[in-house]
C-alpha cells in the first residue's frame, strides 16, 4: 500500500484546521500570561477562512475516498463543512469581544480558540468519513473539546456543574453509541459503511434482524445526545445555562449540526441497503418502512417537550435550550421518511436558516446579558428603548425561530412541512404546526419584554462592533434567505450531488 499515491489534497481543509489549532496552542503556550490573546482569534479566523476556501473549491467534485475509505470527500460532507466553517467563523468574531481582558470569568482565553478549532476538526471528520471508527473518533474529538469548553469558566459554579453533567451524560451516550455499533460490527465483521451496507442486507435475510434493530436503536439513542432530542435531551438546559454564552451558541448550532451529519451519514448509508424486492408494489426499503414511525415519535416528542417546557423558563439560555430541543425535532422530520425526496435540501436549508437565526439570537443574548449581569428574561425589558436596532434584530430572529414569514425559518419550516405532508404523515405535520403555535407564546414573551416592559435603565446599550457584525450578518442571512430561498436551494442543487453519498468510487 502506497500512502503517497493517495490524493491527500482532498484533506486540505482538515489539515489547515489541524495546523491552525496546533500553531495557536503553541503560541498560547509560549506567550507570557499577561498578554492579550485576542489576536489568536483572528489567526484562527484566518485559518477557518482558508479552510472554507478549499471546501468551496472542492465542492461538486466526484466523491474521493482515501485511507481505505477512512476519509471521504463528497457533496454531503462539503455542505455540512460549509455550515460548520461559517458558524465557527461567526463564533470567533463574536468571542473575540467576549474574551476580553476585563472579563474575569474566562481567564484561559487562548484555550477557547484552539479548542473550538479541534472541535471543528472533529465535526469535519464526522461529516466526511465512510468508516465507523473514524466517525467515532471525530465524534470524540468534538465531545472532549466541548466538555472543556463548557467548563472554561474555571471559577464559576454553574460552569463547573454543567461541565460535569455534560461529561457524565456524554460518556454514557458514547457508551450507548459504541454498544450499538458493536452489534452492527458483530453481524458484518467490518467497520466500513459500504461493506456494512452490503453485508447487512444478507444478514437481515438470514434472520439477524433483532441484532440490526438493537444496533439501530442503540445508535439512535446514543447519537440523539449530540442533537439534544428526546430521549437524550435532559442535559441541554443545565449545560446551556452553565456554559459561557459563545459556547452555548456553539453547542446549540454547530455541535448539533455535526450530530445531524453523523446520524444521517450512518443511517442513510447503512440501513438503506435492506431492500425487499419480493414485494408486489416494487422494491421498498424494509427497515425504513418499519422504523420511520419511531423516528417520527422522537421528533414529535422533542417538539412537544421542547416547546412546552420552554414556556415556563425564566432564564434566557435555558429557554433557548428547550427551544433548540424543539428545533432539532423539526429538523428530524425529513429524516422520518429517510432519504425522501428533497431530503438533503430540506435538512440543509433548515440548518442554514437555523445557523443564522440562532447565532444572531445568541449574539444579542450575549450583549444584553453581559450588560445587565443577569440571564433572566427580564434583562431584555425595555431593550427597544435602549437600542432599537438590536431589539428589531432580535425580533427578526425570534420571528424566524417561531416560523413566521418572511424569514428563513418560515421557509425552512414550510419546506420540511411539505415532506411530512407529501408522505401523508399528517399527524406529524399537525404536531409540528401545533407546537409551533405554542412556541409563539415564549418567543413573543421575549418580544413583549423588549417592547412593552419598562427596563431598569434607559441608558443606551453599547453594542460592541464584533457582536454588531454578527447580528447584522444574522439579520441579513435570515431575511435574505427567507425572501429568496433560491439563494441556498440553487447552490445546494446545482453544485452538489447528494445522492453520490451512496456511490462508492
Amino acid at each position: 500500500m502506497d500512502i503517497t499515491a493517495w490524493n491527500w489534497e482532498v484533506m486540505t481543509p482538515e489539515f489547515i484546521i489541524l495546523g491552525t489549532a496546533t500553531i495557536l496552542s503553541l503560541i498560547d503556550l509560549f506567550m507570557p500570561d499577561d498578554r492579550d490573546r485576542r489576536f489568536l482569534g483572528i489567526l484562527g479566523l484566518l485559518g477557518v477562512i482558508a479552510a472554507g476556501f478549499y471546501v468551496i473549491k472542492f465542492a461538486g467534485a466526484e466523491p474521493v475516498q482515501i485511507m481505505n475509505d477512512m476519509f471521504r470527500l463528497d457533496s454531503f460532507g462539503t455542505a455540512f463543512k460549509l455550515i460548520f466553517l461559517t458558524g465557527v467563523a461567526l463564533l470567533f468574531i463574536l468571542s473575540i469581544q467576549y474574551l476580553n481582558r476585563q472579563n474575569q470569568e474566562v481567564q484561559y482565553r487562548g484555550e477557547f480558540f484552539y479548542l473550538v478549532l479541534t472541535a471543528l476538526l472533529g465535526m469535519m471528520i464526522m461529516a466526511s468519513s465512510a468508516d465507523l471508527i473514524t466517525l467515532f473518533v471525530g465524534l470524540e474529538v468534538l465531545s472532549v473539546s466541548s466538555y472543556i469548553l463548557v467548563g472554561i469558566r474555571k471559577k464559576h459554579l454553574y460552569s463547573n456543574e454543567s461541565a460535569f453533567k455534560y461529561v457524565v451524560s456524554g460518556a454514557i451516550a458514547t457508551a450507548i453509541t459504541l454498544y450499538g455499533m458493536s452489534f452492527i460490527y458483530g453481524i458484518t465483521g467490518t467497520t466500513n459503511l459500504y461493506d456494512i451496507a452490503e453485508r447487512l442486507a444478507s444478514a437481515y435475510q438470514q434472520g439477524f434482524s433483532l441484532m440490526i434493530y438493537l444496533g439501530f436503536f442503540l445508535m439512535l439513542v446514543g447519537l440523539s445526545f449530540k442533537i439534544a432530542v428526546v430521549p437524550y435531551h435532559m442535559w441541554a438546559p443545565d449545560v446551556y445555562q452553565g456554559a459561557p454564552t459563545p459556547v452555548t451558541a456553539f453547542l446549540s448550532v454547530l455541535s448539533k449540526a455535526a450530530g445531524f451529519a453523523i446520524i444521517i451519514r450512518i443511517f442513510l448509508s447503512v440501513f438503506r441497503s435492506i431492500v425487499n424486492y419480493q414485494s408486489d408494489a416494487g422494491s421498498f426499503y424494509v427497515l425504513f418502512q418499519e422504523l420511520n414511525l419511531y423516528i417520527a415519535i422522537l421528533a414529535a416528542a422533542s417538539m412537544i417537550i421542547g416547546n412546552t417546557l420552554a414556556l415556563r423558563q425564566t432564564n434566557i439560555k435555558r429557554l433557548m435550550a428547550y427551544s433548540s430541543i424543539a428545533q432539532a425535532g423539526y429538523i428530524l422530520v425529513p429524516l422520518v421518511t429517510f432519504w425522501g425526496i428533497n431530503f438533503f435540501s430540506q435538512t440543509l436549508f433548515y440548518l442554514v436558516a437555523y445557523l443564522f437565526m440562532t447565532l444572531g439570537a445568541f449574539a444579542v443574548i450575549m450583549v444584553v446579558t453581559t450588560d445587565r449581569g443577569t440571564e433572566d428574561i427580564r434583562s431584555f425589558a425595555g431593550l427597544y428603548h435602549r437600542s432599537p436596532f438590536t431589539a428589531i434584530a432580535m425580533t427578526i430572529f425570534l420571528l424566524s425561530l417561531a416560523g413566521i414569514p418572511i424569514t428563513a425559518g418560515f421557509f425552512g419550516k414550510f419546506y420540511i412541512f411539505m415532506s411530512s405532508v407529501l408522505y401523508e404523515n399528517y399527524w406529524l405535520a399537525a404536531v409540528m404546526m401545533g407546537t409551533s403555535i405554542i412556541s409563539y407564546i415564549y418567543y413573543f414573551g421575549i418580544i413583549r419584554q423588549m417592547y412593552m416592559r419598562p427596563g431598569d435603565t434607559e441608558a443606551r446599550l453599547a453594542v460592541p462592533l464584533p457582536a454588531a457584525f454578527v447580528i447584522a450578518v444574522g439579520v441579513l442571512g435570515t431575511v435574505a434567505v427567507g425572501l429568496f430561498p433560491d439563494l441556498v436551494l440553487n447552490y445546494l442543487n446545482q453544485n452538489l450531488q447528494f445522492t453520490d453519498m451512496f456511490a462508492r468510487p
Partner: protein, 506 residues
C-alpha cells in the same frame, strides 16, 4: 405602467415607512401627517384601479407577474412566482382595505405615544391587508396573511388599553392556530395538485379529465380528502371571520385594542376570512361546499342569533359592536350557504357594507370615548344636546347597521336572505329574527347614548372637529352610495360571480 399598478399599490406604503424612518421620533405632528399622507397614495392608486377595471373582462385583471423562486419537488421544479391581480371579488376588497386604512390613519391622531413606531407598523400591516386580496397564489396569500397579523399584535399590545398584552396574545394565538391550519391545507393542496397558483389549482380540481379527478388515476384526490380540506379551510377562515364558537379572541381585542385597530380589524381583517372562504373554500371545493351548505347556514344562523342576543345585554358600547360584528358576519355565511348568485352577491355586499359600517360605528365610539373617557352605556346619555352632530352620525350609522333601506346594509341583507329563501327557506325564516334583534340592540344602545336628559358632566362635550368629520363623511358617503346605487358595486361583482356560480350548480 398600468400592468404594474397593483404592485405599486402594494408597495406604496413602503414609501411612507422609508420617510418615517428618517423622521425624528419626537415630532408627533409631522409623524402623524406623514403617516396619513402615506396611506393616501395606495388609496388614490386604488381609485385608479377601480377606473381601470374592465367590467366585461373575465378572470383576473391588471395581472403582474415576476419570477420569484423555485422549489425542486419530486422530479419537477415548481416555480413560485410573484403574481398579483384582481377580479370582481377582490377588487372591492382592495378598495375597501385602502379606504379603511386611510380613515384608520386619520383616527390614529388620537394615539398618545410612540407615533413613529405606530405608523411604521401600521403601514407594514397595510401592505399585508392589501396583499392578501391581490395574491394569485397560495404562498403569497399566506405570507400577506401573516404580514397583517404580526404588526397587529404589536399595535394592540403596545397601544391598547389596560389589559392589552393579554388581548394581543389571545389575538396572536387564535389567529396563529388559524394560520397553522391554513398552512397545512395549502401544503396539502400543493402536494396533491403540484401547483400553488389559485387558478391552476381550481382548474386541476374541477376539470373532469384531469388526473386528479379520474377514478383510476394514482393522483386521484378522494372525496374524503376534499371534504377534509374544505373543512380545514372553513375552520381556518372561521377563526378569522369569526363565527361562533371561534369568536372569543375578537371580543377581547375589541375591548382592549386602540380604536383604529378595531376599525382595521372589523373593517378589513375579518373580511379576509370571508374572502378566503369564498375564493378558496368554495372556489376549490364547490361540490363539498354545496354538500355542506346546510351546515354552513346553521353556523351562520347560530352566529347571527348568538351575536344579536348577547349584543342585547351588553353594558359597554364597544361590546355591543363586537357582538354585532359576530352577528353581521353570520349574514355573510348565510349568503354563502345559499349557494346561488343572489346569495353570493349578498355575502360580498355584506362584507363591504359591514366593513364600512363597522368602521364608522367604532370610529364614533372612539370619538365619544375621547370626550367622555368611557364607553359604558349607562354612564353615557343625552349627548344629542351637547354634541348633536356626533349623535346624528352615530344614529345614522346604527340605522345603516340594522339595514335601513337606502343604505348599504339593506341591499346586502336583502340579497343574502333572498338567496337563502330560495335554497333554505327554514333557515332564512329563523335568520330574519336576527335582523329584528339587530334593530332592537342597535337602537337600545345608541338611543341610550344620545337621548335622554344630559347629565351635568356631559353638558359641554365638544362636537365633532373637522378632522373627525372627514372619516364620518367618507364612510357615510360610501354607505349611502352603495345603498341608493348598488350597481356601483354590483356590476363589478357580477362578472366574477357568473364564473363562480355555475360551478356550484346554483
Amino acid at each position: 405602467m398600468i400592468e404594474k399598478l397593483l404592485t405599486l399599490i402594494l408597495l406604496s406604503p413602503l414609501l411612507g415607512i422609508l420617510v418615517l424612518a428618517f423622521t425624528p421620533r419626537y415630532r408627533a405632528g409631522t409623524v402623524k401627517l406623514i403617516g396619513i399622507l402615506a396611506t393616501l397614495i395606495p388609496l388614490l392608486l386604488s381609485f385608479v384601479m377601480y377606473v381601470q377595471f374592465d367590467l366585461n373582462a373575465e378572470g383576473m385583471q391588471l395581472v403582474h407577474r415576476a419570477d420569484w423562486f423555485q422549489i425542486p419537488i419530486q422530479d419537477s421544479v415548481v416555480k413560485i412566482a410573484y403574481e398579483v391581480g384582481v377580479d370582481g371579488l377582490s377588487m372591492p376588497m382592495v378598495l375597501l382595505a385602502s379606504v379603511i386604512a386611510t380613515l384608520g390613519a386619520v383616527a390614529s391622531i388620537a394615539i398618545q405615544k410612540r407615533w413613529k413606531e405606530y405608523f411604521i407598523l401600521y403601514l407594514i400591516m397595510e401592505i399585508g391587508l392589501l396583499g392578501v386580496f391581490m395574491s394569485l397564489n397560495l404562498f403569497m396569500f399566506f405570507i400577506f396573511f401573516e404580514l397583517a397579523l404580526i404588526p397587529m399584535f404589536f399595535l394592540i399590545a403596545i397601544w391598547g388599553y389596560l389589559d392589552r398584552e393579554k388581548a394581543a396574545m389571545k389575538f396572536l394565538i387564535y389567529n396563529g392556530v388559524g394560520s397553522g391550519i391554513l398552512l397545512i391545507t395549502f401544503v396539502a393542496l400543493f402536494i396533491k395538485t403540484g401547483s400553488l397558483n389559485m387558478a391552476e389549482i381550481m382548474t386541476r380540481l374541477s376539470d373532469p379529465m384531469s388526473p386528479f379527478n379520474l377514478p383510476d388515476s394514482p393522483y386521484l384526490i378522494s372525496e374524503g380528502l376534499r371534504t377534509g380540506l374544505f373543512l380545514a379551510l372553513l375552520i381556518a377562515f372561521g377563526i378569522k371571520m369569526p363565527f361562533v364558537p371561534l369568536h372569543t379572541w375578537m371580543l377581547k381585542s375589541y375591548q382592549e385594542s386602540p380604536i383604529p385597530m378595531i376599525m382595521i380589524s372589523s373593517g378589513v381583517m375579518i373580511k379576509m376570512g370571508a374572502y378566503g372562504l369564498i375564493r378558496l373554500g368554495v372556489g376549490f371545493f364547490p361540490q363539498q361546499a354545496v354538500e355542506l351548505a346546510q351546515w354552513i347556514g346553521v353556523l351562520g344562523l347560530v352566529s347571527i342569533l348568538y351575536g344579536a342576543v348577547l349584543a342585547l345585554v351588553q353594558k359597554d358600547l364597544k361590546m355591543v359592536l363586537a357582538y354585532s360584528s359576530v352577528s353581521h358576519m353570520g349574514i355573510v355565511l348565510l349568503g354563502i350557504a345559499s349557494m346561488n348568485a343572489t346569495g353570493f352577491q349578498g355575502a360580498i355586499f355584506q362584507m363591504v357594507s359591514h366593513g364600512l359600517v363597522a368602521a364608522l360605528l367604532i370610529f364614533m365610539v372612539g370619538v365619544i370615548y375621547e370626550r367622555t373617557k368611557t364607553t359604558v352605556i349607562s354612564e353615557l346619555g343625552g349627548l344629542a344636546k351637547s354634541a348633536p352632530f356626533i349623535s346624528g352620525v352615530l344614529l345614522t350609522a346604527a340605522l345603516a347597521s340594522l339595514g335601513l333601506p337606502g343604505m348599504s346594509g339593506f341591499i346586502s341583507e336583502f340579497q343574502a336572505f333572498l338567496g337563502l329563501f330560495r335554497a333554505e327557506p327554514v333557515l332564512a325564516a329563523i335568520g330574519t329574527l336576527g335582523i329584528i334583534l339587530t334593530a332592537v340592540y342597535m337602537l337600545r344602545a345608541v338611543l341610550a347614548t344620545t337621548f335622554g336628559p344630559t347629565p351635568e358632566k356631559w353638558q359641554d362635550v365638544v362636537d365633532a372637529r373637522p378632522v373627525e368629520v372627514i372619516p364620518m363623511a367618507v364612510l357615510l358617503g360610501f354607505v349611502i352610495l352603495i345603498g341608493i346605487y348598488p350597481a356601483v358595486l354590483g356590476d363589478v361583482v357580477q362578472g366574477t360571480l357568473q364564473n363562480l356560480v355555475p360551478r356550484i350548480g346554483g
